[in-house]
Amino acid sequence: MENEITVSKAELITEVQKMLAQKAMFGTATCLDLDERFEIIYHFELEQGLKMRHIRVSLAKDDTLPSISNIYMCAALIENEMQEMFDIKISGIALDFKRGMLLAKESPKTPLMKGKE
């Protein structure tokens, strides 16, 4: 994808703060399960949606990701979703549904992980 940067977990927050300074709007975030690690892509929109910028973070499966919901409040929902659909740990979500936003108690746990079908 064009206009894409890869950052480490530690750089994520500063990079997202830079996006806020450029008045970028948060689009959405995607989580990928690459068997041995997770990859999270944050999609931002610049110039009122005409341009996109993607920030890619790679994360070990047992690692914890810092939440960006303290910078972009609206990211809280998608972070909750990632947390539910994948077995990923995100710390400090502004509005934490504790893995009960989309899935019920009886639903299959972390359904989007590989090897769950």
């Binding site: 994808m1 008045k23 709007m25 948060f26 689009g27 959405t28 995607t30 990928l32 399960d33 892509i41 999609h43 929109e45 009122q48 949606g49 005409l50 996109m52 993607h54 972009y72 409040m73 609206c74 809280a76 929902l77 998608i78 659909m85 009960g100 936003m101 989309l102 899935l103 019920a104 359904p111 989007l112 769950k116 079908e117």
Partner: protein, 359 residues
């Protein structure tokens, strides 16, 4: 009266779909709100990994029945982008035709529901009667009233011939006459509608940008952002200007949508007259490989598809970012401080589509 928590939903006549808003009330004033979603989450993203990539079109169409064409369009554009397929220009114009048709029917549907939410029964009936004309066009050109199912990877499935185009123009003229006579004047002039919508649920420009609102919710707050400006399909040839209102209240969002109905009407007529001759689809062989982000403007706002293919018949990952999911945070800003009676109006003013939201 003490502080009470009113469970608004999941089964509630104002919303045709299940969403629950836990409203914390002091008398009839809302002081806090917690949205409870997930009642109709199905897990479509997982199913999309299990189906062959061509079959996913039918699944994507059923993410949401109201904007089903847009979902299929977004998915097909993503796959075409990934496989470097050049779509014939007639197909691109036909896509614009159906896309704007479904935008019209979606906005009319919403307008009816809004009228119903503040108890204006006769406006609800008038709007839905006008909407039937649009649905008739949809049925005539695609074979189904709601789920058009005309997209395939590499083009469209059906063509519109000269005779049919003429009939469509006649029906649109009939629609315009009905809308001019009974819908537009009511919305522009009726004092009770203004009483219920003006100044209700204000979302400022700064809030809208920070909370990443999309679509008419964003444009009603004065931000000229519309994915059609990225000139996908045939919007480049047809030309496009976004509609913006600056007040940021429920009435502004209503006006944006009403004006968009008329704008879509013009775009449809333009698309019909400018449509070039030629094929409507190209044959696509091979399997998708790579990553791509595809965006279209749904009636409710920006729709983002992230598609990752791995060279097999199945996709590695399909991520659907829907407009209602993006608009829910702005609801949390709009609702506190309003009266209970305004909750349905404000909630509907973002045009919630829960089926999209929870997938």
């Amino acid at each position: 009266m003490a502080r009470t928590v009113i469970p608004f939903g999941p089964q509630h006549p104002v919303f045709p779909e299940p969403i629950q808003l836990k409203l914390e009330c002091e008398d009839e004033r809302i002081v806090g709100v917690v949205p409870v979603i997930g009642y109709i989450s199905r897990g479509i993203e997982k199913a999309a990994e299990l189906n062959p990539f061509r079959n996913n079109i039918f699944l994507c169409e059923r993410v949401c029945g109201i904007c089903s064409f847009m979902h299929a369009l977004c998915y097909c554009q993503g796959i075409e982008d990934m496989m470097k397929v050049e779509v014939p220009s007639r197909a691109r114009f036909l896509r614009v035709f159906w896309a704007e048709l479904s935008r019209m029917h979606s906005h009319l549907l919403w307008l009816g529901l809004l009228a119903d939410s503040f108890g204006f029964e006769s406006l609800f009936m008038q709007v839905w009667r006008a909407r039937e004309i649009i649905l008739d066009i949809s049925e005539m050109t695609s074979g189904h009233r709601i789920i058009q199912s005309t997209n395939v990877i590499g083009g469209v499935r059906r063509d519109i011939d000269e005779e049919m185009a003429q009939k469509v123009e006649e029906m649109l003229a009939q629609f315009k006459e009905l809308a001019d006579r009974s819908i537009l004047p009511t919305i522009l002039n009726d004092p009770t509608i203004k009483e219920r919508t003006v100044g209700k649920g204000i979302l400022t420009k700064e809030q809208a940008e920070l909370l990443a609102a999309v679509g008419p919710t964003l444009r009603g707050s004065g931000v000229a952002s519309d994915m059609r400006m990225t000139e996908y399909a045939a919007y480049k040839e047809i030309g496009f200007e976004p509609i913006v209102e600056t007040a940021g209240d429920s009435y502004a969002r209503t006006l944006v949508r009403v004006k968009e109905i008329y704008q879509s009407l013009d775009i449809i007529l333009k698309a019909l007259s400018m449509m070039p001759e030629g094929d409507i689809a190209v044959r696509v062989t091979g399997r998708p490989e790579g990553e791509v982000v595809s965006r279209v403007e749904q009636p409710r706002g920006e729709l983002i598809y992230y598609v990752k293919g791995n060279g097999t018949a199945n996709l590695e990952r399909l991520k659907i970012g829907t407009p209602t999911f993006a608009n829910i945070p702005s609801l949390l800003v709009m609702l506190p401080g309003c009266e209970l009676a305004d909750v349905p109006v404000i909630t509907l003013s973002i045009d919630p589509c829960i089926a999209c939201c929870e997938r």
